[in-house]
Symmetry: C2
Amino acid sequence: MLQKALSFLEENQDYFLKDVIELIRIPSISPNPAYQQQIQKAAEWLANKFTQIGMDTVRIIPTRSNPLVYAEWLHAGPGKPTLMFYGHYDVIPPEPLEDWKTDPFEPIIKDGNIYARGTNDDKCQLYSFVGACESYLKTSGMLPVNVKFLLEGAEELGSEGMDAALLEHQRLFECDAAVVVDGAFMNAETPTIGAGSRGLVYAEVFLTGPARDLHSGNYGGIIHNPIQAAAEIVARLHDENCRVTIPGFYDRVVKFSDAEIQATRKLEAPREFYENSLGVPALWGEPGYSVLERLGMRPTLEIHGIGGGFSGEGHKTVIPAQAVIKVSMRIVPNQDPLEIYDLFKDYIAHITPPTVHSTVNLISHCDSSSIDINSPFLYLAEVCYKQGYGYDPVIKRGGGSLAVLGLFQKILSVPVLSLGLGLPDDGLHSPNEKFSLAHFYKGIKGMISMLDASQKIPV
Amino acid sequence: MLQKALSFLEENQDYFLKDVIELIRIPSISPNPAYQQQIQKAAEWLANKFTQIGMDTVRIIPTRSNPLVYAEWLHAGPGKPTLMFYGHYDVIPPEPLEDWKTDPFEPIIKDGNIYARGTNDDKCQLYSFVGACESYLKTSGMLPVNVKFLLEGAEELGSEGMDAALLEHQRLFECDAAVVVDGAFMNAETPTIGAGSRGLVYAEVFLTGPARDLHSGNYGGIIHNPIQAAAEIVARLHDENCRVTIPGFYDRVVKFSDAEIQATRKLEAPREFYENSLGVPALWGEPGYSVLERLGMRPTLEIHGIGGGFSGEGHKTVIPAQAVIKVSMRIVPNQDPLEIYDLFKDYIAHITPPTVHSTVNLISHCDSSSIDINSPFLYLAEVCYKQGYGYDPVIKRGGGSLAVLGLFQKILSVPVLSLGLGLPDDGLHSPNEKFSLAHFYKGIKGMISMLDASQKIPV
């Protein structure tokens, strides 16, 4: 069965590539409401695909946000585990468009990579387990274990609606382990197994000054420019040690074990490696923590943009009536997203000068997660990487936030395996996002091997 | 001659209104290169208008930027002065479009106002002297004095190209006084005569961090986010007393006479008036200076926008590769724009942290200006306001920057009369810009009276 599936993959590489390109071509941009129909189209494409490869019970499940696509195949027989595979079919907006070398939704193959928005995040990655199941079903008419697919269309919206959907369909989603495929290797030769992920609090702050936009010649010097006020507030969110200044922000931060800290530090590359690969003149961050500790074990606060006013080409002498700050905080185990949001909101109110008004909105939030490192399912991730890619993985905490990790853990009460098939230079969320063709085929191969190995996990 | 011109105005109000609306409908947006054809169209509209009303020698004069429209009528006879009237036919972009109640280039009349981009700034204002000359020429076939029109298409670009054009055509533009019409009343019943204007230095600062946009989950906490760096730099440009922190910035600032300061303070409204009319919770600015001193007599630094990253609706967790700060400084007599720019540039280099790169560009600059308050031409402005509007004007320094004031003063060596026919709440450079219909007709009337009075100025 395994051999037949692997041969099918071998012989059908072009078919799989053509197939995933169809999916990538659909601009299923969830943060922009104008693309709602494309979200629907991508969901239907996946549902059709699942029916076509022989999954039974294929459903498009509405949520308060974009629909989930669900499929199951549960005929593996007694004693076989049920794995639920998760990926997301939505993508972030391609902007700034002028920085793309090619059309973001017209995938091109160049130098062994597929370039397009959503290749890495997450369409080529989710295709790995879809292609693996297709390889089994088309050759043996069955899978080694029971499989459920749960594909999300609102991951880039912070998985809005997922919590309610999980609660509503808890029975449908019952499984022995969830496998989340949406991440990256640590470097080209080092795949990672997620030991945990940071949570997220995404907020916006509006600063309102004058009742209307003003001309800086006529009014410059007598009112507090909201853009300037925004900058002054942003500048107060970190101290000179790169630490977040919000009172209480670090109070509940978990202290990781020395063993885990030492293990993490062993994975650390020299500082120059990070500086060169990111192209920054110097790294920045909390003193006393290594790069990987800062990324996986420490909470952070990031400014995504300051809007309002004029920042285009040329010259406009406006004092805008309003400015907006887009800000997110990554949080670690023990920090509660809503508590952190309250601390943030109170602090903004506290540091807003009397010359402007401020209002704060919560845009989205999710919990951090951690996996029990004694779970037998961790072995499956090793198989995937060893058999698929020929590399031994490391286990480490990721800096990113996958709401579903925390939600699956909390609501479904199952171990959540977090895999990533991308590469660190794939330009995730950037112009010219790519995914390696070799990783694409090896990902399917890894998943075929993993499905085979999962028969042996006792349940 | 005067009476016939005034009667013509009286009987042709609808005609004048319809006429200026034609001009306002042309979206002659100079800061956006996409509107180049519309700039051309507006210039041609004006040239045709001048020919049609009976000016002779009508010329569209190319510059390195948008063309000047020039016309003259020089048959007033010996001993009569030559006045050169200046206005500008370009407008700033209407953005943000969502804040306009009506189409910015489809003027509508409501509650006694014309609403559209460019009504106040400067199309209804420049029309005052055009309509005044038309009223004379159509009724008497001549003007009381020699008249030149010099209309600019790049005022909103900081009058780029004007310096070279003035030098090149110095003979053509010879006159006894220049009359610049592009400003506003101090309040509904108080017209102003400009005693001087602030100069301008407009610059942009690019802050570059990583080589590409990054995902804040994967990289948040280890690099200095360029948006945050931009905010931190902006926050360092003013101290806690709202003073600009650039070393040397205030070194050459002129100390105005006690008499002028006292006269300025007499014009001051109570603080609440400014707070209420601007809609700000509290005023801001340098302690020890009144509102009108801060606006007209003190240099300032304003942030117009911080670009880069994501500031739209919703949620995007990007760390942008680059941020841009748009900044302008208003300068007062004795401050040299290029010297101030150098101080700014050096200071930015000095305060840029080692974790990002910065580059500074000069976008535009112009000199401040001052008029000799003993000039006999100041009397003409009084006539315009008294006869046209029935109000006595005050003489005061303006906060805005009109490059031509400094340029006419420096290159043409003539007194430059600065008039403003707008109202402070016209929403200059804001959405829903307007101009009062009453001011429109009274402006033409004022200019008719002023042309008549100017016969008596000895030259």
